[in-house]
Symmetry: C2
Subunit: 694 residues, 2 copies
Amino acid sequence: MNINKLLKPKKIAIVGASDKEGFGGDTCRNAMAYMSDDKYYFINPRRDEVFGKKCYESIRDLPEKVDMVVICTPVHTVEAILREAHEKGAGAAVVFASGYSEVGTEEGVERERSLIETCRSLDMALMGPNCAGFINYSDMVSSFAFISEERDRKGRVGFVSQSGQLALSMMDSPKMKFSYAISSGNSSVVTMEDYLDFLVDDEDTKVIAMYLEGIKDTAPFVAALKKAALKKKPVVILKTGRSRKGQEIAASHTGSLSGTDKVYDALFRKFGVIRVDDLEELMSTCMALSVMKRMPENPKVASMNLSGGETGICADLGELHGIEYANFGKDTMKRLKEVLPSYASPNNPLDMTATLSYDVDKYAEAVDIVMMDQDVGLVAIGYTLLQEIADPAIKYMTESLEKVLEDPMAKPVVMIPFTENTRNAEYSERLEKIGVPVLPTSNYAFKVLKNITGFIAYDASCHNLEVSIPEARKGEATPLSESESKNIIGSYGIPFPRTEVVKSLKQAHSLADDMGYPLVAKIDSPDIMHKSDAGCVMLNLKHADEVVDAYSEIIDNAVAYKKNAVINGVQLSTMVKSGIEMIIGVKNDPQLGPCIMCGLGGVFVEVFKDTALGLAPVSRIEAENMVDSLKGVKLLNGYRGSEPADKDAFVDAIVNVSRLATEHMNSMSELDINPIFVYEEGICAVDALYVKNV
Amino acid sequence: MNINKLLKPKKIAIVGASDKEGFGGDTCRNAMAYMSDDKYYFINPRRDEVFGKKCYESIRDLPEKVDMVVICTPVHTVEAILREAHEKGAGAAVVFASGYSEVGTEEGVERERSLIETCRSLDMALMGPNCAGFINYSDMVSSFAFISEERDRKGRVGFVSQSGQLALSMMDSPKMKFSYAISSGNSSVVTMEDYLDFLVDDEDTKVIAMYLEGIKDTAPFVAALKKAALKKKPVVILKTGRSRKGQEIAASHTGSLSGTDKVYDALFRKFGVIRVDDLEELMSTCMALSVMKRMPENPKVASMNLSGGETGICADLGELHGIEYANFGKDTMKRLKEVLPSYASPNNPLDMTATLSYDVDKYAEAVDIVMMDQDVGLVAIGYTLLQEIADPAIKYMTESLEKVLEDPMAKPVVMIPFTENTRNAEYSERLEKIGVPVLPTSNYAFKVLKNITGFIAYDASCHNLEVSIPEARKGEATPLSESESKNIIGSYGIPFPRTEVVKSLKQAHSLADDMGYPLVAKIDSPDIMHKSDAGCVMLNLKHADEVVDAYSEIIDNAVAYKKNAVINGVQLSTMVKSGIEMIIGVKNDPQLGPCIMCGLGGVFVEVFKDTALGLAPVSRIEAENMVDSLKGVKLLNGYRGSEPADKDAFVDAIVNVSRLATEHMNSMSELDINPIFVYEEGICAVDALYVKNV
């Protein structure tokens, strides 16, 4: 399968060409608007001409081979046309028709299975079905089925969307310019992972935007993300299915299987993917990243506004969205005081006062002073660019910025408006030309700023850029006993107190003295999970006699609790002093593999849900970041004057568990270490559960 | 002072009238555009005519009395003009000039003090200084100093803004329509609280919008909020100063004193004020509330969209913003299945599929079915209304909605777009006419939805609509000793263990036996706050001898720790069993009075900052809501199968502390009860601190 035949075809044929309303007609209209006449053919057995251009009866009749066919005809015609196209040399097709797996019927699912099979046998790259096609703005190829207002759309954002409606909305947004616009539909032959890979490699694409409901195959998706991370090419993804309701909808819409959503967060963090909440944030983030001529060298922002009200809003929204404001140096302050009116104070966020916006030179000087401050990475200009220009300030400000940004070393500048409005086209364009994106309204703008500063702070070398993708399993989850669990986990360097399983009164008596007191006795059985409820845990045993009594009582209680329970014996462990109570867990996601969780134990995890996730294998820095992202890390760092706990040892434990999880990815369902005590020096795990699944 | 002379004048004079650019010229242009010719006079000693209208040399020369003067001349001319205007019967003035307290100089502050004094002595209602004036759209009066694009702006949102720039931005937004648009500047004579009060009373104003940096006088502000709450008239406030940086800026901008910001949250919660994050949210929330013809009867939302992508976004954003989606009843599902295409599933959020938007009757039927569901309070239509209409869907959808909303009992409908764009004017207007507000882009739209549903859920009768505003104090904060603190707090029904202060070895010995064991001994001294650090706490004393020893040691340690400490004696208390560790605290805000805080104690409050605030006096329901808003309430409600704790007793304690705080608002600085144990039955406070300030 050659995706270039699909996305970069030399010649195409449009089957179902028409001059009416609808898919056929609109696809032809787009072809004529975007493509040179010799690059496309019209096919329709019922027409001689369409829009005055010759129309062929069938693909067979074409005077030459084509790379790709656009199929505008109904679902039952598709496979025959594919075969015909294949005979005429085509290696690719776009299929608009719906009626496949997305309708949710058995018939639809079967139809899609057959379509995939046909494409595989013919080695054809198929876009869709149930899609709206694509436009390649680099080579000017259109197979798009919807008409948008005419305007120059050639740019450097490559997008691929599983929703045709959202694709159309992006095309309709006046601020977006594309290298590729792809509505991929069910993406069942050429998959989302294929498109991603293509766009990561494509030199004309600077920023990648995706609307994603789910992926089919993890390995190529991860490989493409890795390539993007290493190239530092931004990938911005809107993935629905964060909420329970959203997951249901994603599943029913394109028949994608949404993985557990939080695992996607961990995946995206690993590869520096920017995750967004809605379409506007997706578009604006991509637009800003593609318009800026340079990336900021540090994530600290300077905010410059024309009024106190706007400055106050920027101060508050900055804090709300976690933006770090640069601290102006003394020299900056002094120089600003010289250029600002006497009643203005040189803070950041800065109220320059409206006066300055009517003075091209002074305004330029103020921006230049702020830019020169070494703490500043990016300058955010607060100004509401309207559609109808009433005030000359924007003229002066734009001239100032044009002057300042002549310097190729000038730092990046963005513009933040305070009301929603289509921005004046002339000034948007002038600003875009000098690399200044006009962001959407303030609350969005600060999210976009956070996306940008987060992206530049991402360092691929801190991450383990692998994912442990498990084979498909059909087995059942089977818990091991506590001692078996401890054995496996302990063999990966997680310290447990000395534990022995005794199988007789005599053995209990003699081992107890050898282990020393106090001891804890528990049943060791894979069939009894809630040992305390079953009366199968005895704490603080201080003499051999107490141990022997405990042994008998625990066995009796176990049998009473569950008649046919498999009993390995009674587990004796030395009691450990308590420390800061933490937990480490792993859940093995069927799509993305083992996902490690760490957090504070006890009520913290259940009441405050203060946990962090990382996708195995995690690097040591990833493990550290997980721990540091916990609110409760304050307890580990030394709380209320107490000594700091051994965070390093806990981080090591996470890395070790990650190694275990990766090595057992095909045989483990989940594991839990709860609690694991962290001391001033060292750590000790107390209880553990390992659930296998082969 | 008569605010009607300012905001509803019969005749006005514009001093400094001009046909040039600038304040004078633009104010005249606005007057001519908005007002009938007989309502205003131009004054300028250097002109005979302005824009062809007679111009008088001075106010004295006017042929009749005027109610109000608009002063467009520089700062040094203002006071003389005020006196002249007063002689001509004027009771009000608008002053644009800056150079007052906002410049931060001594001279400016003094100039403003003098201006206030002059207005007081002349009984004049003055808007400004440093303002941009106002427009009264009800009576068509303009004193506004900036020009906006011409359009019909008469509507029912009354706004008052301390920032002229933000006022202008609201005027420039095509979606806003006003009863009053007021740029109040320094608001030092007619204050923000005066404007609020006016707008609450004003029958032409349906919704009040405020951009607020700070208030001058609490009592009238609170009185106006109370009136609005009881009328259920929505008050929407953008108050900057949430962040540390924002507070600094608010202070420097209009010289307002920003109170501690979180106290404002508590204030706004009490009176059902909608607090917003930025200007767009302020405008859209007000616009939506003013356009909707009815308020939803319940806060549950139905979301109806034309694509799976949009539906997924709505599902996720709904959860993110805490929107509750209605559960469709069986009948609704059945009827929807009949009208939707076969491949659509009747969920909420609902993907109706694009097909339906081309069928006026079916679309109307689908909306009607959803509206009839008794769980639905409000219908949110997802659709990106563009400026240039390319697709006929909006025509059909609008016709459908016009049909459905003919029924006066129809439930409220809003429209949610997915990209930022100026909305097509024709369709915005048609939708507005039938009460359908077109909200801003999705993330904002869901915040606005949350504001609306939160507002309708507010019930004034659940709140104590008073605030305990303290007198200004000059004293110093003086902590009481622990036993004194416990005495005051205990007298308000907060239970403490039996506590006695003993002043001799002998007394210690005899009282100990009487109190019973175990006992705790602590120093009782207002000068030693950190008793443990000073070695002045001894726990778990089990015999009289131990108590006697502890007594001596504590006194010795206290003297060693702080030589001249006032020592009341040694405090003996019976030891209590531990329960769920909570805290209650009070801080007395100089502007808004005692603010009660409750939360989980220990690490919870310091690491997780899991606390809730309420402004005294709090009603029992307010106290309950505070406790229920804690994440840690799960612990009180019975956690991991444990019995629920006595939440009622803890809520009572909050109400009692609130009563104490209100009665002591003029003499208390703060208090802390930490910890207070909550048991399955009852509560017991263990330690307390009361800091007085007279």
